[in-house]
């Protein structure tokens, strides 16, 4: 943005400077030429007044005039005699002299010469020998005397003005950009979950207003999270308290069979409520930006379970892609999911069953975790439905894994493995 401001100011300033400097430069040159012409005209003025009176003294006066001016001076007399610097009688001389027969009046004028100089011709009428013409040549160098210097001064002035404009623009850009950058930094911190981040509103009114709005947004997010935390705590209280009363009432039942059966039901209800509360707390647990490195978490959990594999004579093959593989889950949730899946392998396959763990990257980001065993395979029915695993567990573990996978933008699939065992594919999405 700062660069764009500088380019814009440079372009506009340059256009304005060119619009003024180019005519001014032309004017300076024209003025210098006019000044030189005027000086030459004034220099020969005494000669034109006295050319008819000088007679034999004319050559001397012409020479003196020429010396004073430092320019060639020629007097064309009416009798055809040429005094001073020899020059041919050109059409310009004839035009200045006029032609009585053709009713062309004598007139003074100046004309440009082929070498860049200028000739000034002044007719002197009323002489006995006819109209004389006084001619003075102004060389090109004299016509442009001082122009180069003036142009250098103008150029320098233009460059100075341009530099000054850029300096002022840079200061202005900084004064605009400082608050905007502070605003951007604060927004990035809020986005990263630093909810205490606030900006000191400053700069132009629009940026100041945006800063105040961002601060209000940060406060609002904090309030909402607090409200959500309180709602989750209240949910826990409201759901667990009646179940606690129910659990204590069940303990008071006299029939041992009824007591055992109802205690199991209450335990099942309690687990479902725990899961519900855990799910309600997910936004609080995850914060603004849930993310972790799957290679680190999976590697650590596999290392943790490896000792049990050794103690139960299971061959464990592990393949973890080079990290980091970032996924949209907090480390604790991913660790819980991996623990649930590995725990299932140990719980539902006999000792000695080999299994392998493969963690790889996904094309669209995130990671794919495959856990495949050579056990007896999947039981019938939907193993991911709570309470229907049919293998001595409630299925809640898989439900937790599925919820975590879906929360990350991925999925969980259980399919038969090629060699008859179970293949679990956990797809985890990338951080947002």
């Amino acid at each position: 943005m700062r660069r764009q401001i500088l380019i814009t100011v440079a372009a506009s300033t340059l256009l304005v400077l060119l619009a003024f400097l180019i005519p001014l430069a032309w004017l300076v040159r024209a003025s210098a030429a006019d000044r030189a012409s005027s000086e030459a005209t004034l220099g020969v003025q005494p000669l034109t007044s006295t050319v008819g009176l000088l007679g034999a003294g004319l050559p001397g006066v012409v020479a003196d005039t020429q010396e004073q001016l430092g320019e060639p001076v020629t007097v064309f007399l009416g009798n055809g005699q040429v005094v001073g610097t020899p020059r041919p009688v050109t059409d310009s001389v004839r035009l200045a002299r006029g032609d009585v027969a053709n009713r062309v009046a004598p007139r003074a004028f100046s004309a440009n010469l082929p070498d860049g100089g200028r000739e000034i011709l002044i007719p002197v009428v009323g002489l006995d020998a006819g109209t004389a013409v006084v001619r003075v040549e102004v060389p090109a160098a004299k016509l442009t005397d001082g122009v180069a210097t003036a142009w250098w001064v103008l150029g320098g002035l233009g460059v100075s003005l341009l530099a000054l404009a850029l300096l002022v623009a840079d200061r202005l850009a900084r004064s605009y950009l400082g608050p905007v950058l502070a605003l951007t930094d604060t927004a990035a911190l809020l986005g990263a979950g630093e909810l205490s981040a606030r900006v000191v509103p400053s700069g132009p009114p629009e940026v100041t207003a945006a800063g105040r709005a961002l601060n209000r947004l940060g406060s609002r997010i904090g309030d909402l999270l607090t409200a959500e935390r309180e709602a989750a705590a209240d949910l826990s209280h409201r759901l667990r308290t009646p179940v606690a009363a129910l659990r204590l009432d069940v303990d008071g039942l006299s029939d041992p069979e009824d007591r055992e059966r109802m205690a199991r039901d209450v335990a099942e209800l309690s687990r479902a409520i725990d899961q519900l509360i855990a799910e309600a707390r997910r936004p609080i647990r995850e914060g603004m930006v849930p993310a972790c490195d799957a290679t680190a978490v999976v590697g650590a959990r596999v290392a943790f379970w490896r000792v049990l594999a050794e103690d139960t004579d299971r061959e464990l093959t592990v393949s973890v892609a080079p990290g980091p593989l970032r996924v949209r889950l907090v480390p604790g949730d991913l660790a819980d999911a991996v623990d649930a899946l590995l725990g299932n392998v140990f719980a539902h396959t006999p000792d000695g069953t080999s299994f392998r763990v493969v963690l790889s990257s996904r094309a669209g980001g995130g990671a794919r975790l495959v856990i495949e065993d050579t056990g007896p395979g999947l039981p019938g029915g939907d193993v991911m439905s709570r309470g229907e695993s049919g293998a001595g567990s409630t299925g809640l573990g898989l439900d937790i894994v599925r919820r975590s996978a879906e929360a990350s933008g991925g999925s969980l699939a259980l399919v038969p493995a090629h060699d008859g065992g179970t293949r679990v594919v956990l797809e985890l999405g990338p951080p947002s």
Binding site: D249, D251, D311
Partner: protein, 227 residues
Amino acid sequence: MAHVLVVEDDPSIRTALNRTLGERGHAVSSAPDAMSGLREALDNRPDLVVLDLGLPDLDGSELLRMLRAVSAVPVIVATARDDDASVVRALDAGADDYVVKPYSAETLDARIRAVLRRASSPDEEQPLVVGGLYVDPRSRVVTVDGQTVELSPREFDLLAYLAARPGQVVSKRELLTEVWRLPYGGADKTVDVHLSWLRRKLGENAQEPRYLVSVRGVGVKLVEPAA
């Protein structure tokens, strides 16, 4: 017989605790809010307080601080809050134990007895010695044949629980309830993997156990190694 004061705002739970704890030999009084609970605790001097944190007039943790300022009565916090911050806050404020709702009468009674036992004989947490194994619950130090063993907090709790019951087979469900505080936990493989780690650190394995002996289908016991 112990006098137990239940400070709980839910009338169903108060009634149920009055009945079930009474059936287990305790004299039970109750209070529905913090202020009446504090008054009851100061006037009648119960042997133990079962305290809910979600009280209508004052947070239970505040009541706990007030109680601690004037009384050394043992307190078991019994609440629906299961997050770590609440547990740590309650224990730091002076709670002697913490149970999360819903709990069974049996579990609560066991904790009441354990807390009362500790309160009556503060020196109970003596170091446990089983063969060459030395477990000190107070300093949380474990040595095997004089060599210090580094354990995670959960591994230490597991070993200390088993060492307090040498030769007694303890079921995995009991370990989940008492060590993990998961009375309804079904992930008994969690216990298995921790036992595997514990075995590694004690210098043994499942095939050649020394201290930790699995009893198939029943549980695990900690024994003195055969010479």
